[in-house]
Amino acid sequence: MQAEAIALIRLDLLFESISGVIAMIIAFYATKAYNLTEQKRLSDLSTGFLVLSIGMFSHVIGTWYFYVRLGLEVPIPELATTMTVVTLTYHFLQIMAYLLFVLSTRRGGRVKQPEMAMLMALPILIDVDLELITIFVMLVVVLQALLNYALVRSRFALYVLGGFFLIFLSHIFLITAEENVFRYLVSQALQLLGFLTLLLMVYKVGRME
């Protein structure tokens, strides 16, 4: 039973690691675009993907260390607390990243610094379930991507919409997973698919003549 659980965790970590690498590739590409165009929003977008990948890698390392290296169901309470901190940090970084997506991809004028700081402090200011905040922020990202696709009608914008929608869907599955391992894995697979869709967009843009 324990071996089966570890195998599932390893699969989960593999999905998350690939997603993290893709997030880093997109951050790199957005930085490249920023250097060429000097558009500040691209820098915000890049920071968003970078923060997301850092969150993912910290989650992967934490999960691997506590559940795989030290074994399942560690009876030491200090370790359980540390794992909770790792998970909370991961959620926090995820929300930060999604907020940066909201700010960088929103239409209209540039967001003023105080407004941005207020939004970034949202997870601290509001004492509710972090996953609910994540879903709400991601929903805004998806709606903005939908609006953008309706305006530009390009296949690249469609890939971005598809990618963000799959990531949003992965959070919906995650919140309904509770103790259901299968739903949790589906959630991670959806997240990976979302990042692969975004990677496909970057690949297709890179191959343009």
Binding site: V152, V160, V205
Partner: protein, 97 residues
């Protein structure tokens, strides 16, 4: 639904000028054509053309004010190709450049 572009970055203006030059092919583009295609004032056009020549993205040919034409250099073509990719990438996320 039409998109209103309120502000064009300097990089975008330079890219628009280079696109205007590229569209004229081997013959090259004169200042008036570039001015209209990139929607610029005369002063801005002169300033940006000097910058493009200085950065070796564009080369000047022909003698005299009236015969002057501009061609894209290899470096200019590479820059424009890369810029278009970044433009598409940004547009996909709803970011105007």
């Amino acid at each position: 639904m039409s998109r209103k572009r309120a502000y064009r970055s300097k990089m975008r203006i330079l890219a628009d000028m280079m696109r205007a030059i590229q569209s004229e092919g081997e013959e090259g583009a004169g200042p008036t054509k570039i001015l209209y295609a990139a929607n610029l004032s005369h002063d801005r056009l002169t300033q940006y053309l000097d910058e493009l020549v200085e950065k070796e993205l564009v080369k000047e040919a022909g003698d005299g004010e009236s015969n002057r034409v501009y061609h894209l250099t290899e470096k200019g073509r590479d820059f424009l190709r890369e810029f278009v990719k970044m433009e598409k990438f940004s547009e996909a996320f709803g970011i105007d450049i």
